[in-house]
């Protein structure tokens, strides 16, 4: 955090000054470690084993915040007797279908609800990254589940959790992660001691957790701990994602993503959502508890914002115009399709995949096989010049005279040359004023897309093609100003906020959304950012003039709420858990919720409220159900659906690992998304033979002085000078083993690429003793490429493409490689070297990657059957050797 989010880290230091203990877990000792109380080195890709150890420590010692857990979580819910755990099935859960590589969730449901499971097979959900929809709300579950408030029932969530994590002992943590037992216990003790009524603990993570083939389950494990300890919805608690681009949160909320529409509405799927009603019901789940019940109004209002006058209740608000998904249309599938010649044109909008995405060679070869490419950026980036000086030009794989891609480079306006909002990492929108005009041909994206739409519509005017109706009927009238006819960002923000169609009055909250076409809302979760006709994101009341919550600085979604689920900061009766941790509470005299923040609860619903029989939507949530966007108002320790790779997190080895999984016969995530394409050869891992060809683990991250793919930092003299060269950090032990000299050269080889780097021998990296052997890890920054003031090979070239099944994020924080002294070969011999390693590792084009590495999947589960089956028949309690 001190490296990549330095100014955010000042708050960690403030907390430390007030007595907080800071723990830093990282494969590499960094500036954060230097300032932490305790640093724990870890083998990359094993965090679930570490966190699972903490869950076990909490449960074994009964250190959970019991009142909170009983009242606010699903710990007491009783799960179907058909459910079989990874303990029973050697690392698989019940319902696995090896043919599709996915799970049927029926057996994961609560008792008596097996047939309510929305999804039987979940291959489709995986292809459409449906897990992302849960950024704003949970998966639906039937409201009434059988419970055992004593937590003694052998199939209640609490007991299942206990059994599931029983193997994650301190010894096992040491064996898997390489963290000594006493360090682990120090962490577990401090974390639990710092939680409860009087204290809260925070968990901060970044892409070191998400970019894994089990990324979502990393976060799930963290949330199980924070929920057991009562750290959610309370001040000083929570799980905080530190995101890496100025508005990456905004670009997920208002998504430039294939599977989502604004406000986490799903992009329609051709088979599941043939009609508007089916689409809406798939979001709303008629009869469900919770706020998602209003989604028909959000959906109708979005289509009204898109198609304006043309969108009417009679024509389902032009739902028929919406494009439909049929499967995986994610960025990695697209790139493989480019290589296969299926994509004609590609826009790059401030993103540089030639350096920033996994498998750089696949990215560049894909771009070299397009009809046309439009690059919009501040600087000339590698993704615009791959045809001229990319690494494949040197190897002869791309010959400029034979490369057909037509490239348009359009200069972009910088952040001071346009106005608009960024949404930062805590969901806070901040409006930026414009300082100066952009230079020369540089323009904002707002300008480019507004005018592109205008030109397209002019060219199509009079077209009778059915496919052109959606463009011609589009509501595309935005006021413009200035010599370049810049569209008004404020007008767009007003549309995002939403307005009453008849009067144009901006809406004050998403509660005003209607499903009859009388409201238009571009992104319902942002409703309120233009409340009272005022740009709330532009508010800049000084921190000196308001309290520590600073509610009048910018605007946070939803409803300017700074801490989500903050009803949980009060006890079931609505009283603060403690004076010290007071945040939001029930005021019985006023008959309303009040506090420092905007209460995340219906303002006048008393803690004693119990829903009447048959209630649905928000009215079905009781006065002590704080997790209001969840279908049952509870925090989920166990997820009966919604998480595709298991109701509970399980340690799997990374897709590329030098080690056999010490916990189960199942080696890696059996539902991970793999792409068997000739260009995407994955290094073998046990139990496959030849993993020793790539004996070392590598991981990548950021330098303080550079930003992502370097387009905004290798081009800036000050930053380029501070970190002028690509390098690799290795431990003195590994340097000795391989013969690497400090400040000399080394090259690293994977099944995809060879890259070179200067060697930094440092004890910031430690060889780890893991499962009786020594594992060496090396670290690389991933910012370098061939353009800019400082250049170097790209670390991301080393990675192959394997994705998490829930959200299709790639595993680009851990892989295997070999490292050798000296510079890499150049030209065709470089390809020979990769080919040689592929041959030695048995990475033939026809090799099939084994998804399942245990035979426990046999029997009834194999076909994804939901029939009765006996978990005992599959018992295999011994960890795999």
């Amino acid at each position: 955090m001190a490296e990549a989010h330095p100014v955010g880290f000042q708050w960690v230091m403030e907390a430390k000054k007030r007595g907080a203990k800071v723990f830093h877990v990282d494969p590499r000792f960094t500036r954060t470690s230097a300032l932490a109380d305790t640093y724990l080195p870890i083998r990359a890709g094993t965090d679930i084993a570490l966190l699972g150890g903490v869950v076990r420590y909490i449960l074994d010692n009964e250190l959970d915040f019991r009142e909170y857990v009983l009242a606010y979580t699903n710990a007491a819910n009783i799960v179907s007797e058909r459910f079989a755990d990874t303990e029973d099935l050697d690392g698989l859960f019940s319902g696995y279908n090896p043919d599709t590589g996915s799970y049927d969730h029926a057996s994961w449901q609560y008792e008596g609800q097996e047939d309510n499971a929305k999804v039987r097979g979940t291959g489709k959900e995986r292809d459409s990254a449906s897990g992302l929809e849960h950024e704003s709300h949970g998966e639906p579950v039937p409201a009434q589940a059988p419970r055992d408030e004593t937590l003694q029932h052998p199939r209640c969530v609490y007991q299942i959790l206990k059994r599931h994590f029983s193997r994650y002992t301190p010894e096992m943590v040491a064996r898997v992660c390489g963290i000594p037992e006493e360090k682990f216990l120090e962490l577990a003790r401090a974390w639990t001691e710092n939680s409860g009524r009087e204290r809260t603990g925070a968990l901060v993570y970044s892409v070191g957790w998400t970019q894994h083939s089990v990324g979502v389950q990393y976060i799930r494990t963290g949330s199980i701990i924070q929920t057991l300890l009562g750290n959610m919805g309370r001040p000083g608690g929570g799980i905080l994602a530190l995101r890496g681009h100025a508005s990456i949160q905004g670009s997920t909320d208002i998504p430039t993503l294939f599977n989502l529409l604004p406000g986490y509405l799903p992009m329609p799927h051709h088979a599941d959502h043939p009609t508007f009603d089916r689409w809406v019901d798939s979001i709303r789940h008629p009869g469900q508890k919770g706020f998602w019940g209003n989604s028909r109004a959000f959906a109708a209002s979005l289509l009204k914002a898109y198609w304006g006058d043309a969108a009417t209740p009679e024509n389902d608000f032009c739902y028929g115009y919406m494009p439909r998904m049929t499967g995986d249309h994610g960025t990695y599938q697209q790139v493989l399709n480019m290589i296969d010649g299926k994509v004609k044109g590609y826009f790059l909008l401030g993103q540089n995949p030639a350096v920033g995405s996994a498998h750089g060679r696949a990215q560049r070869l894909g771009m070299a096989n397009l009809d046309w490419l439009v690059v919009r950026d501040l600087f000339m980036i590698e993704s615009a010049t791959f045809w001229k000086n990319g690494p494949e030009v040197a190897t002869g794989e791309i010959v400029p005279e034979e490369c057909r891609t037509e490239v348009f480079f359009l200069p972009a306006a910088s952040h001071v040359e346009k106005e608009g909002t960024f949404t930062q990492t805590q969901r806070l929108l901040q409006w930026r004023e414009k300082a100066v005009d952009p230079p020369g041909d540089a323009r904002s994206e707002l300008w480019f897309f507004y005018h592109l739409g205008r030109v397209l519509r002019e060219k199509l005017a009079g077209s009778t093609e059915r496919r052109d109706r959606a463009l011609l009927d589009l509501a595309w009238d935005y006021p413009t100003h200035g010599p370049h006819a810049e569209p008004s960002a404020e007008a767009v923000l007003k549309e995002i906020n939403g307005y009453e169609v008849a009067t144009g009055r901006p809406l004050n909250a998403f509660g005003e959304a209607r499903d009859d076409g009388s409201t238009a809302i571009g992104c319902w979760i942002y409703s309120g950012v233009y409340a009272d006709g005022v740009n709330q994101a532009a508010r800049r009341r000084s921190r000196h003039e308001q309290d520590w919550v600073a509610a009048e600085w910018g605007w946070a979604w939803p409803a300017n709420r700074r801490t989500l689920y903050n009803r949980a900061s009060a006890d079931p009766e609505g009283r603060p858990w403690s004076e010290r941790k007071k945040y939001v509470w029930w005021d019985p005299d006023a008959g309303e919720w009040t506090g420092y923040d905007v209460p995340d609860f219906e303002k006048t619903k008393p803690p004693s409220y119990r829903p009447p029989e048959g209630a649905s939507g928000p009215a079905a949530l009781a006065g002590d159900d704080p997790f209001v966007m969840q279908g049952d108002g509870k925090a989920w320790l166990y997820a009966p659906s919604g998480v595709l790779d298991g109701p509970l997190p399980t340690h799997y080895e990374p897709a590329e690992s030098p080690m056999r999984n010490p916990l189960y016969g199942q080696q890696a995530n059996p539902t991970r998304k793999i792409y068997e394409h000739p260009i995407n050869r994955m290094n073998p891992s046990p139990p496959e033979p030849h993993s020793q060809v790539f004996p070392y683990v590598f991981t990548v991250s950021r330098l303080t002085e550079h930003h992502t793919a370097g387009g905004m930092s290798r081009t800036v003299p000050r930053l380029a000078e501070l970190q002028p060269e690509m390098f690799v950090e290795v431990s003195p032990e590994l340097a000795g083993e391989v013969g690497l000299a400090h400040l000399g050269w080394a090259h690293l080889i994977s099944g995809r690429a060879v890259i070179e780097a200067r060697v930094l021998v440092t004890d910031r990296l430690t060889p780890l003793r893991v499962d009786g052997r020594i594992i060496h890890q090396v670290w690389l920054p991933y910012h370098f490429g061939t353009e800019g003031l400082v250049t170097g090979d790209s670390a991301n070239d080393l990675f192959g493409i394997t994705l998490d099944p829930n959200v299709l994020i790639q595993e680009s924080k851990v892989g295997t490689c070999d490292i050798r002294p000296g510079r890499r070969p150049t030209g065709p011999p470089l390809l020979d070297l990769v080919g040689d390693y592929q041959r030695r590792a048995g990475m033939t084009p026809d090799r099939k990657i084994p998804l399942v590495t245990t035979d426990a999947a046999g029997g009834d589960d194999a076909a994804g059957s939901t029939d009765e089956q006996s978990p005992a028949a599959h018992q295999d309690g011994e960890p795999h050797a």
């Binding site: 949160q249 430039t256 994509v343 993103q351 996994a358 910088s414 300082a435 060219k459 923000l493 942002y526």
Partner: protein, 189 residues
């Protein structure tokens, strides 16, 4: 120069009598630095802005004169950053005023070995033509069971996390209307 002014010119006197007993601020100021004015004081204007790099969202004050950015500083009012900027945020002025920035449209013909110039309007027009051609060539109206698809898989787009919400909104809206489904950004890398 009178005696009083002379004595007051001694840093040690100012240190002992003034508001700066440690002698690190006003007391140590030379006549030369006293005569300097900060760029921030003479600027034509100041825009309240936000750092363009990571998602901490540090506040920036962008000072400008004669249509040029003259200084970018941390915003002391911000409850997020309290006036601080990290090396990247502090380099923002170098970023936006960099001579390496591209300010002209560049065009590479198929099979060409060099860039050429192109007018912005012409480029916009050519891109629009190519979109329409790609749509026409790869349009999918319905699936094999006759259910609507309304889309093209012939067009892709990547990027958005460095852009404004308003921009992402228009991008998604326009691409959706043209049936281009394959829209992705940094959230998935």
């Amino acid at each position: 120069m009178g005696l009083k002014t002379f004595i007051q010119g001694w840093p040690v006197y100012r240190q002992l009598t003034g508001t700066d007993p440690l002698g690190r601020g006003a007391a140590a100021q030379s006549a030369r630095s006293a005569a300097l004015t900060a760029r921030t004081e003479t600027a034509d204007g100041m825009a309240r802005s936000v750092c363009p790099y990571c998602a901490v969202g540090c506040g920036q004050r962008v000072f400008h004169s004669d249509g040029k950015v003259t200084q970018i500083e941390g915003d002391p009012d911000s409850p997020i950053s309290r006036g601080r900027l990290c090396p990247k945020g502090s380099a923002s002025k170098s970023l936006v005023t960099s001579p390496l920035r591209q300010t002209k449209v560049r065009y590479r013909r198929p099979y060409a070995t060099e860039w050429e110039d192109l007018d912005l309007d012409v480029a916009l027009d050519m891109i629009a033509d190519r979109i329409l051609a790609a749509r026409a060539e790869t349009w999918e109206d319905v699936d094999d069971e006759g259910r609507p698809l309304n889309r093209t898989l012939g067009i892709s787009s990547l990027g958005g996390a460095t852009l404004d919400n308003e921009e992402n909104y228009l991008i998604k809206k326009l691409f959706t209307a043209m049936g281009a489904l394959q829209i992705e950004n940094q959230a998935r890398i």
